[in-house]
Subunit: 436 residues, 4 copies
């Protein structure tokens, strides 16, 4: 199978999505656009909205008004209203199923959300120069999920055009950036019959033409939300009467980053979003931190949670404030199964598009794909996470992040071939089972 | 002159204004309502909008969208559209002039803006219990400017009903809370012919029935706006690449409050409003502080500005960030003239409404009335600032601040009598001049 | 009486003392030298050691070894061993009493201790240039107590040479810098019969030739001692196991300085001496702060104590450490009595040595002389604190502090004359009593 | 060879050393005692003092007075004065050489210094209960170097009692804890002819009976010394004039620990020893930090150095202070050679004293043995670092650290046998060379 000819189509799709980045749970236009494309490719089994998201399991939802604003914005595009109706309230994402004869049940997971950050306007930034920079000011596909969604569609097309025999579920997952989308999909049960699941990420500091057959080193992650409550006072007339929530926050933020490194491995913490106070002349009554902690293992993540809580409570006490600490959406750690890593490494090495293959490498970050991987592994299947290199000028999550579009073909090529092989006569899945 | 009978009218006016607090430069309804009341009292010389605000001198304006939102909200009331039209864009406030025969030119200044803070819903909070709590959620008359505006109207009525001979200008000043409204009025020149200016404040921890003849101890004040610019990075994958604006801010905030006390007198600093960062998993690229510094003298305020700048720049450098520091609206210090203090002290002592008179007391805070006082004093006039006590359950700027409504009559009584005396036969203004 | 001729003698005495500064409770040589000088002036009633210090009331004593080290050092000088024997263990200071006929009982208090700080070696520093720089490295008369002791001796000589009638007690007080010496002397009862007490300070940013008749504005002060106890750990191998006392201290120090300013007046705080940890590769197990808090009133000092405690406890909790907070030696506030202020102002104005007299000025610092002043005032006497100006190149407590030696004569002149007047025929003490 | 019978002798030696811990460069008694024991074992080639330490290469020396104090203390023991004479000035440590016929040149390195920390007095602490707790208050063998020195002597005895053919150099290295002793020995050239070097550490959280054949994961380390210089001022009278070195330090310490984690691996930082200020009422003029930074690689150590410098300079600037940052003694990273790891693993597995063998494990800390290992490896030899488990109640560097004395025999057994094997007929060194 040669997917080289998809290049123009993939590029065009990717740019369309890039231009309309939608952050977590707001992927209204994105989902609708994906569904339309799936339909035009001939897929007839497409689940969306509440069908794929277990009840009550979504987390990190934005505020009502924010959801509405993005929904209305999607309404104003030419996206299909009937589809949008099913997404209302933040029920975004889709699962496309292709059932073709006997064979294993396979799955591919791609994530589709953008980030709440401004995209560079510099002429040196390719999307800006080429006119497909984000039209949603303050939102940006700064982590390549536009490419992921595009590759997902490319794989669907490639499989449809092949002699694939078996079942393939392609999961277009929302809300990865807030670690919110994988859990409700896992809990929906749609993956419980899957024999092999693959997920992918583009970039990760690997150059175009390089493929990482098995990405590991996922950091377990948890959101942390802190609220400080102090006492307001007139900052000029009687500052001593106040209990300053902003100073409590400042003390906490500094000391959260200073939580000791741990002998057992990597830890992370970030006070990503802070805000506090209401007016320049009022001692701040309220302040909040929205952040995250990570650990190389779940135990290390728990260590960070424990210490962060201690820091926050101490900082509040120092300044006579109250504090609440809540831990939000979490994702566990996970490992790519050797069976899939070997398969991908072998196929990638043979691909004419691939110049270099790394067997395994560490992500060093977190991903809620681990929820899905664990779910499949817990049910007896195998799972892996593939890295598709691409030269990216800016780092992930920065204003100048971008992907080289020839990587799209590489992603489709490597993943489609892996899926075909898994469903083929010499599938390692069969061998593995036989060998047990 | 007995203004006791005004009580019901004053109370009703004050509650009307209390229910619709409008923060700085957004006093659309408030101004319109005041103008209507002035008209119904028979005042025909009323200046509003651009007529009273020197071009380009307004500061601390809210964002465009914010202005519009409040303007539209005022539009939806029964406020006079013709008046509102002149206020559009944040040209709020009014000057009412009464000219009646020969006599000195006097002025009274009252401020009319509310605060951006939530009002208590507790049944123990009188406005909540009595049904005139703010209908603008998140805004509140938490500093008694509703009472100030009401007293201003009461004084107009009392003067109109008296045998006053001379000219009286009552200034309904916007944007005191952001130290933004006095300067453009001073610069407009409307006060340049004033022989005596009085301003007032209710409360200030003095009980109902107590009057402070001359308030002093105004702290000079300046706004400070700080912006930190760092480098974003994925907080899990490569935190080392980021330059964390939130940590720079946290370090700065802590150390701003730690600027050494000064031997020459009182200083203040407040990082009133802070915010930073865009997402929990991105190292914060931008963060900002909106605050203020104060000093017992202008030199002390300058000391705080200098040290705060040093702190901010050091904090930015520590974390590889850039920082800009801007100082916004300022108000100087000022003193109440003895001539007026003695007059008010004498009249207050004789008033049947007043139980106790303090000669002088310190404000211990800041007020942009000092701009107007200085302007008048610079032009050869006299000026003073009078405190009208009122029992207030919560402190100024807190959710449970409230005034005892019988203080309204006291305020009108003391100030109207002082103005009448100043314009009368035995006016100390004449004596003072003669004595020179 | 003309004391101009004392100049050479005073200068020589002062330089001798300057060269051998001894910090609080270590004034062994200093006390012995003063006693010898008193004896050579003919004073026969000299109390030293335990005779003047109430049992158990000394505070802020240095460690045993430190006391011994300074004692041994004094032993090696030519100081009288018999005197030294009585001072052993830190029982320093002396009270010289001159009883001459009928008259009031008067007292003069001078303090005699040095500071634990290095003296400048710069040739621009007069004592260094003239060869009387401290020979005790790390200790320095950086606050002029060498001049105070010298003036005390000068006053004794002047009184002895006059026709003084009455009783004069000159208190050479130890340990002022640690607020430790006044209390045990007050508690000893030696001042309980005193009708008028005067204390003095040289410098205070007043130039040579200027006298402040009554210094006020003493800040109440209290020492604060904080000890943090954490858990040690190998900083490389398992930093997470540690509980870092140094970070707890750092957090506390920053936030102590950030305690809000108070509406009621001046406050101060200083974490003067900090130390913590034992080795570069061990997470610090212990850390300590030795500092002080001050307030314009005792209530303000208490406010600072309360907030500082809160800060320390919060900082310890943040880092899983324990903390103890102890408040040490305290001094109250005090006021100079008008009777004495007027007397000194009058005499100073007439003195040929004095160029300018200030009636009253604020110290803006603390002094444990207030203990003695309060004691006298509580027993029906009057007390005051006189400022003797001197041009000092460096600020008090800095390495280049120095006094102009002609101020010594001025101090003796003003104080001796005041004492003579108080004991004279027209003593205001008598008038005051008669007038009651 | 059976060394079981050495047990009593080893235990007695270890307790003797344990009782007299001497920190870095102060191992006067320790070196003398080792030399005496070597002599009594019959070793005649013993180098000490300047013979083994390259000129000018010692670092982290204590102050002169401190060296003298420890030297005098050693003088007062029954240690041989002739030996002590050669050690004066901190030229501690020894190299014992055994030359016996043809064979390879081998080396064993043991470190001998104690730590500057107080030892537990608890009866639950074995050395306290058994009466061999440190008699040097404030110093302690809290990292097992007493056991290392003892094992070194045990290996010498075992080799002397065997048919060993070849040359063995046993290096009794001083000043490991300050990363100061290995470099001058490496630079002395004594190891340049060594074919195989082994070093060891006891404990490391491995239980008695467990052996780690090859320890890796040494963190590169560098000392950091920071000095802040501010401006002193009287803390009560004019705090604003001061430039507070203690606050600059506090800000720096907090933010040093908050340096971002790095994607490339482990980093560490410790502000181990802090001190600042001179008196409670003086704004601190000087403050200092003595600490360290580490990294999994040299590049990561450099990253920490760079960021720490930035933090310190920013903190100083914030508070108007100057700062100097100096990086002291450093140790690189290193790896144990496979040839030696396999040899030790094999021999340990056969030892009757050993219950469990780990092939490789990470140290997770730093060691200046890496200097010696690199020197040997650079000259074509092989090197390794062996872990000898021991149940230790408290962690390394804590007050209750202790070793199980039966581990001493295990250490001697494993290392002596490895050395004999390396010098034997079937030496892997020969095979390795032959195989080249």
């Amino acid at each position: 199978m040669d997917v080289t000819e998809y290049e123009e189509w993939l590029t065009s799709l990717r740019r369309e999505l890039h231009q309309r980045p939608e952050p977590a749970w707001r992927e209204f236009y994105t989902t609708a656009r994906i569904v339309e494309e799936l339909e035009s490719l001939g897929v007839d089994d497409i689940l969306i909205g509440r069908e794929i998201l277990a009840d009550g399991e979504r987390s990190e939802l934005p505020e009502e008004g924010e959801l509405e604003r993005w929904f209305e914005q999607a309404r104003e595009t030419d996206a299909d209203d009937a589809i949008l109706d099913q997404l209302e309230g933040g029920y975004t994402g889709a699962i496309a199923t292709i059932e073709r004869g006997d064979g294993p049940t396979l799955a591919l997971r791609v994530d589709i959300d953008g980030l709440p950050r401004l995209e560079s306007e510099s002429p040196a930034h390719y999307p800006a120069a080429e006119g497909f920079r984000s039209i949603h000011e303050g939102a940006m596909h700064a982590c390549g999920h536009d490419a992921h969604a595009t590759i997902g569609l490319g794989v669907v097309r490639a499989v449809l055009e092949s002699d694939f025999a078996g079942t393939l579920k392609v999961i277009f997952q929302p809300a990865e950036e807030v670690i919110g989308g994988a859990k409700p999909i896992a809990e929906s049960g749609h993956l419980d019959d899957v024999d092999a699941l693959m997920a992918l990420h583009i970039g990760l500091d690997h150059p175009t033409g390089e493929v990482v057959a098995g990405v590991d080193g996922f950091l377990a992650v948890s959101h942390i939300d802190v609220a400080f409550a102090g006492e307001p006072a007139h900052a000029g007339a009687e500052p001593n009467v106040g209990r300053n929530a902003n100073v409590a926050l400042a003390t906490a933020v500094q000391n959260m980053y200073a939580i000791p490194r741990h002998k057992d491995g990597e830890t992370r913490i970030n006070a990503g979003v802070i805000k506090g106070g209401s007016a320049s002349n009022i001692i701040a009554e309220e302040a909040s931190i929205h952040g995250e902690v990570r650990g190389e293992t779940t135990a290390l993540m728990e260590y960070m949670k424990e210490r962060a809580t201690e820091v926050v409570e101490g900082a509040a006490a120092m300044h006579g404030c109250d504090a609440t600490v809540e831990f939000g959406a979490e994702a566990p750690s996970a490992e790519s199964d050797e069976l899939l890593v070997e398969l991908v490494a072998g196929l990638a090495a043979e691909s004419k598009h691939v110049e270099n293959v790394l067997y395994r490498d560490d992500l060093g970050g977190s991903e809620d794909a681990t929820y899905l991987m664990q779910r499949v592994q817990d049910n007896g299947g195998v799972a892996s996470y593939v890295g598709i290199g691409t030269d990216h000028p800016g780092g992930h999550h920065t204003a100048t992040f971008d992907v080289e579009e020839e990587s799209l073909v590489i992603g489709v090529d490597v993943l489609a071939n892996a899926l075909l092989e898994l469903a083929g006569e010499n599938s390692p899945l069969v061998t593995a089972e036989a060998g047990q």
